[in-house]
């Protein structure tokens, strides 16, 4: 019963951590826009989130009907951070110094990620409020 309450929050918390990791990754790309030879990195967010939560979502875990069953608790965060698989971005326009940072793309991803981070925060806030009003019953 209690894990029903925390599962939804857990999923959003994982998503929030991943969003902040991605935000830092894009910040690194923007910081290295002028570094010769730097290869821009990014992560496949959907796949990393699936790997971190161990399923498509915290609420859709495998049902355990027998005492010997092992539920899909999810890989979880190891030591506070997600073992995200980093991918390399290919250059839209080749550069003489082998730098593959596309500033337009990075700025767009940065803004996109910031908005989605805020959305995740809002999801957590509203789910806490919902549970609070259920608890107080008013």
């Amino acid at each position: 019963m209690l894990n029903r309450i925390t599962d939804a929050l857990d999923f959003q918390a994982q998503a929030l951590t991943l969003r902040s990791e991605r935000q830092r990754l894009i910040a690194s790309n923007i910081a290295n826009a002028d570094t010769p030879g730097y290869q821009a990195r990014d992560m496949d967010f959907a796949r990393t989130l699936q790997a971190a939560t161990g399923s498509l979502g915290g609420a859709q875990s495998v049902a355990t009907t027998h005492a010997g069953h092992i539920g899909s608790a999810g890989a979880g965060l190891s030591g506070g951070r997600v073992g995200a698989e980093l991918l390399y971005a290919t250059a839209g326009q080749t550069n003489l110094d082998r730098n593959t940072v596309d500033m337009d793309r990075e700025r767009a991803s940065f803004a996109d990620n910031a908005i989605k981070y805020e959305a995740t925060l809002r999801f957590i806030n509203s789910s806490v409020r919902t549970q609070l009003s259920a608890i107080t019953g008013q």
């Binding site: 929030l16 951590t17 902040s20 990791e21 935000q23 830092r24 990754l25 910040a27 690194s28 790309n29 923007i30 910081a31 290295n32 826009a33 002028d34 570094t35 010769p36 730097y38 990195r41 951070r81 995200a84 980093l86 500033m103 700025r107 940065f110 803004a111 910031a114 981070y117 805020e118 925060l121 957590i124 806030n125 806490v128």
Partner: protein, 139 residues
Amino acid sequence: MTMLSIFNVSGSAASAQSQRLNVVASNLANADTVAGPDGSAYKARQVTFQTQLMGATGNDPMAAGVRVSTVAEDQTPGRRVHDPKHPSADAEGYVTYSNVNAIEEMVNMISASRSYQNNLEVMNTAKTLLQKTIQLGQS
């Protein structure tokens, strides 16, 4: 808090860009200097950036900052102007000026200032997000 190291990453980049701007300023300031007491004119300087891994462990590939690895001198020969009346003229009457290319330096300056602004904006966004995270669960 992974978001907090954004300030380290973007801060290192802003510091590297400001060093680049500094070098551009000294190049432009010395654009018209002639050969000094050592007989050689001012040489234009160029900074080179290098990736520096950061994060809590110091080797996190997800937090890549920037540092200035070298400040190299441009070795192309300086501009020579025939002016026998100049006090610094050599035996043939030529004065050697610095090898600074003002157009290149102006382009470099604009590029550095744009990159600096980009990093500041990243830090501003990170600050806003962190403030909203602190207010999580309130109101």
